[in-house]
Structures are given as structure tokens and as C-alpha cells.
């Protein structure tokens, strides 16, 4: 699903965020990317969702070089990639339901389907009572779950999640992980960038650590 070959990213003037990173993530894999704050996890995810371009190297998603893709093709590709951003990127003047629905509306899903999917996701993330709440009025933890719900709403084939449990208590963290596992079991490739060891220590998934822009294997996933 994901192929990264010798990818480097340097921010001007000379801040090296990633150095010669090579990574391969198989379709349907759940993969943990760990590392300290500032290690380059967010940069790597931004490169994967084409928010930023690499300084060097090649990145392919499903066999497509995403940084050479433009227009309609790129839009279609992005519809298949769900991203939960660290800064949430919520429309703070819209309701929770509207924020989640947006990712399905752009792919012209039927309104009944959108309504049902939004309700389901809100139930799964303990946000059922917040359907019509303006997102600006939510707590950080609630906003984080709304961002996650939006990422998975359109049933993408690749889900990129940046620090999904940073503002959550242990019970909610478990719920979030259950949702991501459910998505993974239904076929989605999931990449989770985190420094919260509680969510990966007891799993059998592959873990790699970013240190000073370089990627090291921590644990091989169970095959």
C-alpha cells in the first residue's frame, strides 16, 4: 500500500526532518510509528497524504506516485486516504455531524447513508449526544474523536492517524483503538503515529521508531 524509498525532507533553511527514510507498509497492515516529539512523525504523515512534498525520494500509495498526481486523480486518491490530523483541522463554526459528513459529501455519498454513518461513528466514539454541537464548544478530547470519525467515515483504504489518544482518558483511548482495529479488520491499512506506549505495547503489530529523522525497526509484526 505504502512505498517510501530514500525519502528526505528538509525545511528551510536547513532543518532536516527526515533523512533517507525507506518504508514499506502492506495492504491491510496496522503499523505503529513511534518517536519523541519533533522526531518527524507528523512530517512523515504529511508527506504520505500529500500535504507536503519530499525534498528527495519517492513515495507511492497503491502504486501511484502521489507527488506527481494532480487534479481529479489526486482528489480521488485523497478520498481513499483518511487522515486524522494532530491539530484536528475541524471547521469550528460547524456542527459535529457536519464535520464528519464533509469527507463523505465530497465523494457524493447519499444523504441517508451519510446520516446513518455519522450516527454510527458518534455512537462508537461515545459522542452520540454531540451530534448538533458546534465543534468549537467541544473539549480537546472530543474534538480529537470528531477528527478521527471524519478520517474513517468514508471507509478509506488507508487511514493515517497522528497522535490519536493525546487528549483522551484510558476508557476513551480503548474505544478509539477499537474503532481503528475494526477499520483495519475490514481491510483498511492503518498507520498510527504516537508516543503513547500504552496503545502499542500489548499489540502484535509492527512498530518502527523515528529518531532524528531516521527510521529504525523496534518490533516486527506477527505474520
Amino acid at each position: 500500500m505504502i512505498e517510501m524509498i530514500k525519502v528526505s525532507k528538509t525545511y528551510p533553511p536547513e532543518t532536516k526532518a527526515l533523512s533517507d527514510v525507506s518504508l514499506s507498509v502492506a495492504t491491510g497492515e496496522m503499523f505503529f510509528l513511534i518517536g519523541m516529539s519533533g522526531a518527524g512523525k507528523t512530517t512523515l504523515l504529511k508527506l504520505l497524504c500529500n500535504m507536503e512534498s519530499p525534498t528527495n525520494g519517492l513515495i507511492e500509495i497503491g502504486g501511484v506516485n502521489i507527488h506527481r498526481t494532480r487534479g481529479r486523480k489526486l482528489a480521488r486518491l485523497r478520498q481513499k486516504v483518511g487522515v486524522a490530523y494532530q491539530d484536528f483541522k475541524l471547521l469550528t463554526n460547524r456542527t459535529v455531524a457536519e464535520n464528519i459528513a464533509i469527507s463523505m459529501e465530497v465523494s457524493y455519498k447519499k444523504p441517508q447513508h451519510i446520516k446513518k454513518r455519522v450516527r454510527d461513528l458518534l455512537d462508537q466514539l461515545s459522542l452520540a449526544g454531540k451530534h448538533d454541537t458546534i465543534t468549537a464548544e467541544l473539549s480537546r478530547g472530543e474534538q480529537q474523536r470528531v477528527a478521527l470519525a471524519r478520517a474513517v467515515a468514508n471507509s478509506p483504504t488507508l487511514i493515517l492517524v497522528d497522535e490519536p489518544t493525546g487528549n483522551l482518558d484510558s476508557t476513551t483511548t480503548e474505544r478509539v483503538m477499537q474503532l481503528l482495529t475494526k477499520c483495519n479488520k475490514s481491510g483498511a491499512t492503518v498507520v498510527i503515529a504516537t508516543h503513547d506506549h500504552s496503545i502499542y505495547t500489548n499489540t502484535h503489530h509492527r512498530i518502527m521508531e523515528l529518531q532524528h529523522g531516521r527510521l529504525n525497526l523496534v518490533r516486527k509484526g506477527a505474520s
Binding site: 481529479r72 489526486l74 482528489a75 483541522k89 471547521l91 464533509i102 465530497v106
Partner: protein, 272 residues
């Protein structure tokens, strides 16, 4: 704000265009009444009349040639004087010159053509003077030209202001909704999906703006008609509002211009 600008632009342009249109129809009406009078030194006999007729027709076909004898000229003048005709009692019966009234064809409309024809008529044997209301026609001609320049300028202004204002407003809207548009791009919205609402906004602005402008002009037109409907120069001519086709064309152009303004600003700001 954009709606107001579009309305005002349409109002300004349509106002001058309406004046221009009405001036053209007044010009046509005056052209229908146009005749050149050639005053003769002496009254021509039947042979001379035939010769003059041939000479006139040698220049161009004309609608009508009428020979007015001295006696006929006096009778006409006396009719025009009405109750004051007795002032002519002591005058000699042949003090008015004989003349030829030439009504040119309808296609002889331009000032230069009329001038050329009058110069030709002035060179006819026995011709003393040619009159066709030169001063009035020249002034009218230049006024019509001035109006046509204003129509062109205000038309250009309409195009520029509409495109500029619509694209400027949409740019402001885009800046205000930058976060939303960025998110739309990130979740996979196509250019078409993002652009459509803005394009519809532009189309509606063009449509509603032009309708408002035309309604304002119509109200102004009715007010002027009512205010100046009494006896006077305005009552000599019948002023009319635009035909349905002209109204549709103005609305269509306004819609197209606003859509272009909207589209160009989206192109600039949405490089996806």
C-alpha cells in the same frame, strides 16, 4: 456589495444605451422628414424643370422631386402665417424665389452623404442656395456620436467593474473560508466540487444585479416620462424602453461577466 456594484454598472450602461437607442429612433424619424430645398434664381420652365430633374437623378435616385413656383411659395408662406397673412398684402406677388424640394432616399443618412448631395445640388444651373437645416442636423449628428462614445465607455466600465468586483468579492470570500477550502482539498474534493458554489454565486450576482439595475432604470424612465410628459420638445418624440431581446441580452452579458469574474478568481486561488 458586489450586487450593488453590478446593479449600478448595469444601470449606468443601460441608461446611456437607452438614450442612444432613443436618439437613433429620433434620428430615423428626422431622417424621414429630411428634405433639401434648392432655391432658384428664376422660375424654370417645363423644359428646364425636366433638365434639372435629370441632373438631380444623375447624382442618385431620390424619393421625390417637387418644383415650387414663386406663386406656390407665396401661398405656402401665407398659409404658415395664418391670421397674420395680411402682412403680405403690400408685398409683390413674386418676392419669394422658386425652389426645388428634393426628398432623398431613406438610405442617404450619413452627414457626409447629405453634405455631398447638397454641394452637388448647389452647382445646378440657376441654383442660388441649398438648405436642409445644416446646423440642426450637424448638431444632432455630433450629439448622437457623443452618446455612442458614452455608451461604449460605460459598456467597458460595466465589463471591468463587474469582473473586478465579483472576482474581488470572491477572493475575500475565499480568504475568509481558507480553512474550509483547504480541508475540502485534503478530504478529496475535486476542483469542480469546490468551484461550483462560487460559480453559482457569481451567476446569481450577475442575474440579480442586472435585474435590479434594469428595474431601477425602468422606474427612472417612467418617472422622466411622467415628469416631462407635458407640451414641449419631449412630446414631439415617442420615447420607448428596451425590447425584451435587449433586456435578455443585457442580463445574459451580466451573468456571463460575473461568472467569468468568479471563475478567474477561483483559478488563481485554487491551484489544487
Amino acid at each position: 456589495m458586489t450586487l450593488l456594484t453590478v446593479s449600478l454598472s448595469v444601470l449606468i450602461f443601460a441608461f446611456f444605451f437607452l438614450i442612444y437607442n432613443n436618439m437613433l429612433s429620433v434620428g430615423d424619424k428626422l431622417g424621414d422628414d429630411l428634405q433639401l430645398i434648392v432655391y432658384l434664381e428664376e422660375e424654370p420652365g417645363p423644359e428646364m424643370q425636366e433638365q434639372l430633374r435629370k441632373k438631380i437623378l444623375a447624382f442618385d435616385d431620390v424619393e421625390e422631386i417637387r418644383f415650387i413656383s414663386k406663386a406656390e411659395a407665396l401661398r405656402k408662406f401665407s398659409d404658415q402665417l395664418g391670421d397674420d397673412r395680411d402682412v403680405l398684402d403690400d408685398m409683390p406677388q413674386d418676392f419669394l424665389p422658386a425652389s426645388i424640394e428634393v426628398v432623398p432616399l431613406k438610405d442617404l443618412r450619413s452627414l457626409s452623404q447629405v453634405k455631398l448631395f447638397s454641394e452637388y445640388l448647389a452647382k445646378l444651373p440657376a441654383a442660388e442656395k441649398v438648405q436642409y437645416g445644416q446646423d440642426w442636423i450637424e448638431r444632432f449628428y455630433y450629439f448622437t456620436r457623443l452618446i455612442s462614445i458614452i455608451v461604449l465607455l460605460s459598456g467597458g466600465l460595466l465589463i471591468l467593474t463587474s469582473v473586478f468586483m465579483v472576482s474581488y468579492t470572491i477572493r475575500l470570500t475565499i480568504l475568509g473560508r481558507q480553512a474550509e477550502l483547504e480541508l475540502l482539498k485534503l478530504v478529496g474534493a475535486t476542483n469542480y466540487y469546490i468551484r461550483t458554489p462560487f460559480l453559482i454565486e457569481g451567476l446569481l450576482q450577475g442575474f440579480i444585479g442586472s435585474i435590479l439595475g434594469l428595474i431601477s432604470l425602468y422606474s427612472l424612465f417612467q418617472w422622466i416620462k411622467l415628469k416631462f410628459s407635458g407640451p414641449g420638445i419631449m412630446s414631439l418624440f415617442e420615447f420607448t424602453f428596451f425590447q425584451a431581446t435587449t433586456i435578455s441580452t443585457i442580463i445574459a452579458i451580466s451573468i456571463v461577466l460575473c461568472a467569468v469574474g468568479s471563475y478567474t478568481s477561483m483559478q488563481k486561488f485554487l491551484r489544487i
